[in-house]
Structure formats: C-alpha cells, structure tokens
Symmetry: C2
Subunit: 367 residues, 2 copies
C-alpha cells in the first residue's frame, strides 16, 4: 500500500489522484442486479476481472452470488485465498506452470476452465492428472465476439468428445459471452443480440445432450446485456462485472431498467495549475484508462478533459473562462472501469464524504 | 510480487504476459545517452517517471547521472530510500500532506520543486518551515507545451520575487520542458522547437539575473529532443526517460543519431487461441498502454494488433492466412513505454534468452 489512508478522513483531505467508490451507490447497484437475477431465476456469477479485489468479491458473495468468474490463474489464486468457493476461468490457459497452479487450486475450490482447441484440453488434463484433482470444462462458443471460441455444433461436439476422453476434466457446459453486444446502445439491438446468443447456445446444447454429453450450464452475459440476457432466458448464469461501478462507456447505453445502475466509481483529482482558459489536474494516463475515451467531469457538464499525459489532464470549458481554482477537487467518471481499477492498488470506500475503509486491489496487475 | 520469477528461466518458459527488457540493448542505449551528454557538456537528470524503478535509477547513477527527476512525492520517496541523492519534482505539488512528506525528505536528500503560482509557493514554504528543511525552487516556464508554467519574463520575475521572500525555498533555476516537441517527427522541426526553448528560457534567465535573482540551472528536454536540445546549448541539464527502452511512438521519430536508441522493452505474450484468419494473444489493455496506438509485433511486419480488450488482443495478417500457432511466443513493442511499465509490478532483465534478474517497479501506481 503506497499511501497511508486513514479511516475517517474527509474527501477534501484525501491525497490525489485516488480511486473512490460511493458505498450507498455501490449497494444500490448490487441490490438491483440481485433483483434482476431473482426476478428471472438466473444465477449470478460476477466477473472478478472488473475489480480484482477480494473485498468486492466477498460483498457479492454475501449478496448471493453463485460463484465468480476470473480471467487469469493469478486472479483465481487471490479469490480462492479469500474464501471464494466456485471459480470459472472464462479464458483459455496454455502454460504448463499456470495450469499446474490451477490444478493445485482445484484441490481446494471448484475450478472451471474454457476451451476452444484440443491442445488446451490436453495440457489441462496433463496438469490435473499430476495432482489428482478435477477441473470443470466449458466449451467456449463464438456467439458473435469474433475472438475466441468454436463455431457451430459440429466443432462443439468434436471438442466435447475430446474433453470426455481426457482424464481429470469434467464437461459442464458452454461459455457464451458476446463482448461486442455489451456496448450496443439501444435496448432493441441488445435484445436481438441476446436472442441470438440464447438461440445459438441452446442449439449447441441440444446437439450435445442428444449426442450423450453433459451440458448443464450455459454461462455468459455482462453488464451491458444483463437485462436482455435475463429476458431471453437462454443463459443459466450471468457474468456481469461493471454494474458495481458503471463507467462512462456503459453510461452511454440506453437502459430499459426503471432503476438503472449508477456511477459509484470516481477518480478524485486536484487542480494543480490554472490559467484563464484552462485548469490542469493531477490525473492522467497513469490513473485512468482512456481506451473508451477521456473521463467525464462529474458536476461540470461544460468542462472537457483534453490532452491526457502521464500525470496530467487539461480541463477546458466548452465556452467562456475556466471556472476552476487552484486546489479545487474534481470527481472524474472513467471511460472504462476495468483497466482503470487495474492502475490502482486500492479503492477507498466512501460513506458520504467520509472514508470508511480501504479495499485493496489484491489481484492487480498481470498474474 | 505476484508471480515467482526465477533467475535462469528461459524466455520460452516465462509465464505471460510479462514485461522484459534486453540488457545488452539497454546498456547500449545508456552508453549512447552518456556519450551525447559528454559530447555537449550537458548534465543528465533522467526521468524516474518513465520506469518508476529504483533498480533502473541506480544503473543510471552508476553511469554518471547528476540527479533524477520525479513526477510525484511518492516516486521521490522510493528513489530517496534507494539512495538517490538529488531529486527534482518536475511538477506542481499543492496538498499539505504531500508537501509535508517532501519537506521531510529534503532533510535527507536534495529536493527541487516546480512552481507556476504563488499559492503553490506559500504551501511549500509553510511545509518546509515546519520541519526546518530547505527545498530548491524552479520556476516552470511554458515553452510551448500549453499546460503548466508561467509565460514570459514579467511573470517569471514576479514569481521569483515571491519565492525569494518565502522562507525555506531557494530559487535555483527554470524548468523548461516542451512536451509536444518530443513527438515532432523531423529533426528540422525539433531543431526549431529546441532553439525556441533555448531562446525563451535564456531570455528569462537574463532578465532574472539582471534583476538580482539566482538562476543557475535551466532544466528540460526529453528523449525526443535530446540531440536537438544538446546542440541548441540552452539547457544545463537533460531530463530524458524513454531512451532506456524506446517505444513505438518514439521509434517513429526520424533521428539524426548515427547510433540511434533501440527498442529494449517488450511485452512477451502467448498465442492462446487460433483460427485460420487470426491468432488471439493474452496481452491487452491491462498489460500495455494504447494511448499512442496498438503495439507493433516484433519480427512480424505483416501482422497487425487489433481489438484490444482487457486481457486479449487479436493478431491479424495484413493479407493471407494466420501464420501463428497455439503456444507461439510474441514480443510486442508498446506504443508508449511510461504508462505501459506502470501496469507491471516487475520487469525481467534478460541476458539473451535467459532471465537474469527481476527489476521491481517499486514506485508503481499513483502515489
């Protein structure tokens, strides 16, 4: 922990740049997702990659999550050490050392892993056999993301046959995540995409079970399509991450929720230099991700964030003189929350303007 | 340290994604910068913000650096703890707690700080008076960056007068860094920019000394303009950072060096999924910065990196079928090295294909 954060510190006293999350908003977001899942009788398996923090994962478990997703073996190790009992790696893992770590972990907690190629299956089977554990196997389907995943029933059946003959692997279902659909702005577009996911994955499941393979679970979805996926009814479980925080990009989706998810995550910054025409703040490329564009400035609709550099950003009014003064505190809504959180070692949980506690990003970084 | 890295591990065995630096190239880059500085009789004050690692700072000191630059108080604390005796914060610092930390540090190591507003001066003076230390004061000039810094001699003289009356601050010179000029592609364009920096800062220095103020040092420059700044002769010291590693963006500058700086930093990735038309690797937004565009793929000029997501990237051939196979190792040249390194907890120093030692990014993150 690089900086000493003391519970009870007021927002106005915090050293910046720092990531903060508003507890009341976070709790509302969690309750809304819980209600959505309960209403549609779908299980929640929130994605750990979003926050990489066992503190947030425990909150999600206390509210009834059935398990979590992780993207890497290192994330799974941190989550398992924090007591999370059911982890699905929504990714392909190839490296023998990393598979050995997952195989060890599978002796203590339930571990699932995704496959789209028989060589991945062989490597995983070899690793689990060495330590006599078992790993759940999911066949990843390409349901529109055009990245990983097999296409169509024949490929899925061939891979299922290979998995079934591989000691230590237990075929459990399908990974059917449509990344691109998360950012479709209109509910009708997302509804079409979610229906297509449900249809494709349902058809593959039918062929698999007809062929005698076990396929209990279809897992997928995200914050962007959670309503549409729940309504489409094709998935057994939802994998949302960003709903806890909401970012600038997801904020641009038109929602059909009557109580939509709200922004709870902010990067707090300070004005360190001013001119008549602009203000310079201390938050740049090293405290926020810019792959979904620059951050929005909370409470200042007429200010734009420009010219991001490593430790600086320039706030420029759309028109007129700069309204900010040296020392002013600014709350920024990052464009993309996952890679933004990954820049920080800690997020401060705020109860109003009072810092309640530090949530360590204990799985931060490539691991 | 999240992952166990063992000295002696071969490149082909490393878990990915991981940041690696090629020692022989790194050493050549350091020797070239040393030669440039010696040839032009200019001091080197490399920028710590680039690597945030006391291990690299110590290498730079062993090769004759006169001091380092830092961008934040937290970076200075890490560097000072590692024995670096002369640190200039090339930034404005306002927060009383952070200034108190710098004032404490100034009791042990030489600390300089930049100012462009009398309120920053008052805050710093109050902090150093409390612990009876002294801090070197530099007036930041805007020499074309259009971000922080005062403009023109009159503003500089007014600020110098204020600094001179502020106990605990010792006026030492001018910070004259032209960020935008670093990325001008043609040597002639950079020459014009460097001449303008030398001229403007020289004129301000003349006015300051005529008015009875001390102005011994003009500090500035970076990897992009190092040759042109050294030749222009206006600066007392150079502040380059990226020359150690070189990134995709600086690699696009046309150089006038006969032995130019070379790429020494790579993100090592693995192909985890393949199709006839593309390969998916395990390095995305959480292991590289994309603000200067996607990475180049070392040794594969006909492959493009597309569709960066958190933990994935898609490598697509410009034409023809995908030449990569599952498990292939890929070396990526990141577009921008500073925010890329800031994503990692460690860089592995490679002696050829053998991992020699881990260099911890011990000042990583906002601090």
């Amino acid at each position: 922990m690089p900086k000493p954060f003391k519970s009870g510190t007021q927002l106005s006293e915090l050293e910046t740049p720092v990531a903060i999350v508003e507890k009341a908003v976070l709790q509302r977001n969690m309750q809304r997702m819980k209600l959505l899942a309960e209403t549609h009788n779908i299980r929640l398996r929130p994605h750990f990659k979003c926050h990489k923090a066992s503190g947030f994962a425990r909150m999600q478990f206390e509210l009834g999550a059935a398990g979590i997703c992780c993207q890497t073996a290192g994330e799974a190790e941190v989550a398992a050490a924090a007591g999370i009992p059911d982890i699905l790696i929504t990714n392909q893992v190839l490296h023998p050392a990393r598979l050995a770590r997952l195989a060890l972990l599978a002796g203590k907690t339930r571990i699932g892993l995704c496959f789209d190629n028989p060589k991945q299956v062989d490597a995983a089977s070899a690793a689990v056999q060495k330590v006599e554990t078992k790993i759940d196997a999911y066949i990843e389907l390409d349901v529109g993301g055009n990245r990983c995943g097999v296409r169509g029933s024949d490929a899925a059946i061939a891979l299922a046959a290979h998995i079934s003959q591989s000691p230590g692997l237990h075929l459990r279902g399908l990974q059917a995540y449509h990344g691109a659909a998360q950012h479709l702005r209109k509910p009708a577009e997302r509804r079409r995409a979610a229906s297509a996911v449900a249809e494709q994955s349902g058809a593959v499941r039918s062929r698999l079970t007809q062929s005698g393979f076990d396929c209990r679970i279809i897992t997928g979805g995200g914050t962007g399509t959670c309503v549409e996926d729940a309504e489409a009814g094709g998935l057994s479980e939802l994998q949302p991450g960003s709903y806890l925080f909401m970012d600038g990009d997801y904020g641009l989706n038109e929602t059909s929720l009557s109580d939509p998810f709200e922004h709870s995550l902010f990067i707090l910054a300070t004005v360190i230099s001013t001119r008549p025409e602009h203000a310079v703040i201390d938050a740049g490329l090293k405290s926020m991700a810019f792959d979904c564009g620059p951050p929005r400035i909370f409470g200042h609709d007429r200010l734009e964030y420009r010219n991001a550099s490593d430790e600086h950003g320039v706030l420029v009014p759309v028109s007129g003189p700069n309204p900010l003064r040296l020392g002013d505190r600014i709350k920024l809504i990052p464009g993309h929350c996952d890679p933004t959180i990954n820049l920080h070692d800690a997020i401060l949980l705020m109860d109003g303007d009072r810092m309640e506690r530090v949530i360590e990003i204990d799985a931060r970084g490539p691991r």
